[in-house]
């Protein structure tokens, strides 16, 4: 009985995807993708993000054909005009159209969100891989640097650096990523430590693989799921941090519209023009909520530690 099972197992391992057992062999990422597609809330959140991204990219088109105004177009006849036929979501103190500005603001929020996540995954992932793989003093030095960066309260570090750079989408992403990479590095390092001690690494090394090949071809694919999860869970927090910086005046400056600086501006007028403070907040909330829900779905589908 046991022998028969073992033979079956050997046969199955020995055959290709068109094997005798009839079960199609799939890659880890392919399998995870299937699981993700079964998560309805997660997919819905994903579509919301996709929709917002398309809106952000097509902002000039919306300006031209849907709202018929540019984000900085002032119109003193419609000062503080409440939401209505002319301005669907109202107008601000110089008659600028709120909806148009929200659409253009999406470029900042989503742009910074995705750019920052990319940066911190590349830097944090790289540092984590190197620290975990080489261990010893390399690991010690790199992880102490991470400790230092994470010891400085993030908001203060943002403010310090926001004075250093003139904030735009790229520099803001750099600023936020310069703190965010630390957490990713810790996470990836931990995962590397557990993968590194597995037999296949020793086997690959004994076959003569060099360090670079070991890291890029064998270690990286194994920690990739953890990096994907960290990336997708990070976007929401980044968008919140960016909006807070804009709000405080250390981020994107007016007249470039961003959800954060629209709220900052609305502070003066919100007692009589409620819509100015309500709509940008709702945009931030919906975007962050969708990003978090999608991130959770990704985690449930991809995280190997949840198996």
């Amino acid at each position: 009985m046991i022998d028969q099972l073992a033979v079956d197992e050997l046969q199955r391992v020995g055959t290709t995807s068109a094997g005798v057992t009839g079960r199609r062999s799939r890659s880890y990422l392919g399998e995870s993708w299937e699981r993700l597609r079964e998560n309805r809330i997660g997919m819905l959140a994903g579509y919301v993000i996709l929709f917002l991204a398309i809106v952000a990219i097509l902002a000039p088109v919306f300006s031209q054909f849907v709202t018929h105004v540019q984000p900085d177009r002032q119109d003193l006849d419609s000062q503080f005009l409440p939401p209505g036929v002319h301005h669907w979501l109202g107008a601000d103190e110089t008659g600028r159209d709120t909806l148009t500005r929200l659409i253009w603001g999406a470029r900042v929020s989503l742009g910074v969100g995705f750019l920052t996540v990319t940066m911190q995954i590349i830097v944090g992932g790289g540092v984590g891989l190197v620290a975990g793989f080489f261990s010893g003093w390399v690991d010690n030095v790199l992880m102490r640097i991470v400790d230092m960066v994470l010891a400085i309260p993030a908001i203060f570090l943002f403010i310090l650096m926001a004075i250093l750079f003139t904030p735009n989408t790229v520099t803001l992403s750099l600023i936020i990523a310069s703190v965010g990479w630390g957490g990713v590095a810790r996470l990836v390092r931990g995962e590397v430590l557990s993968v590194r001690s597995r037999d296949f690494m020793l086997a690959t090394r004994s076959l003569g693989a060099g360090n670079v090949r070991l890291i890029l071809r064998h270690l990286l694919p194994n920690v990739l799921p953890v990096m994907i999860v960290a990336a997708s869970l990070g976007v929401g927090a980044i968008i919140l941090a960016e909006a807070a910086l804009d709000f405080l005046g250390f981020g994107i400056h007016p007249p470039t519209p961003s959800w954060g600086n629209m709220l900052s501006n609305a502070q003066t007028y919100f007692a009589h023009s409620t819509w100015l403070v309500v709509f940008p907040g709702i945009m931030i909330f919906v975007t962050v909520l969708a990003a978090n829900l999608f991130g959770n779905a990704i985690r449930d589908a991809f995280d190997p530690r949840l198996r």
């Binding site: 993030a154 203060f156 250093l164 929401g236 807070a244 005046g249 403070v277 940008p280 909330f285």
Partner: protein, 345 residues
Amino acid sequence: MLAKFVLRRALAAIPVVVGVTVITFFLMHSTAGSYVPGLALNPNLTAKDVALLRSQLGLDQPLWIQYLDWTGVAWVVQHLGLGSLLVGANEATPGLLQGSFGQSMVDGTSVSSQLFDRLPNTILLTVTAILIGIAVSIPLGVIGAMRRGTRVDNALTTVSVAGVAVPQFWLGLICILFFSVRLHDWGLPFLPSSGLQTPFTGGALLDRLAHLIMPAAVLSFVYLAIWSRFTRSSMLEVLSQDYVRTARAKGMGERRVTYFHALRNAVIPLVTLVGLELPGLVSGGLVVEAVFGWPGIGLLAYQRALAYDYTMVLGIVTFASILVVAGNLLADVLYASFDPRIRLA
């Protein structure tokens, strides 16, 4: 054993603190360079006056000497009679090592005195927020766990997922809009929108509470969302343990099982989670302090950063970072004294 662990951890924290001072100092100086706020705007100052001012502030010295002076190392070196090592350095002033965080570049006040003026306000705000967070999230988590899968549980889950996505400053604005502006418009009792107390007339306990409640509630919102989820899952885990089944088998009432046996063990991990917030005591409320004009350390840092008072910002950031390192150390030690297994790691 524990003493050895504490010592090891404390020693490991020293290079981190040193590194933090290096990062903040050089970042701040590359930010601001040798700029003195307001100098360029004053038409009565000649180039010679500016040079004199810069020299008085020590800005004409090499950066590494400025760093040693700021950290207080230069002071120690000179007092040991080794001043000749610091070529070209002025008379050193007490620095970080002597407990001085420097002076403001704008009004010359000592950073430490400003910090300690504001520290009680910040701690009052954050501790109140944490207490509100604990007081509300534990019951919510327990309800969620006891009624797992019901409509109540689902509603709580939804609220907590949504809670993490709400921008704090927006929540603050909406609260001000409703509780201060609208209630006032309608002629109802309303909450004050900013400050520590009513100017001139205020200061009574009730007045201060009225000013505290809104910022503290807004600040506690994120804690609420996270901690209630955590309590729920921790509670569910504990309820499936053998000793809970044993307690039930002995005929103990469900209420007693829940509140005496399960809850007590379920909240232990929450202590760690709350402990993780301790380092953020000082910095965590910056945005909320800015929205509500709460005169704490966050608001101080914010206003001084807007005014380019970079020595003040540098002092505050360093102070907050040292607190973070100390807070982490404290959390480690507390955790190790609760759980002996940690000490071996």
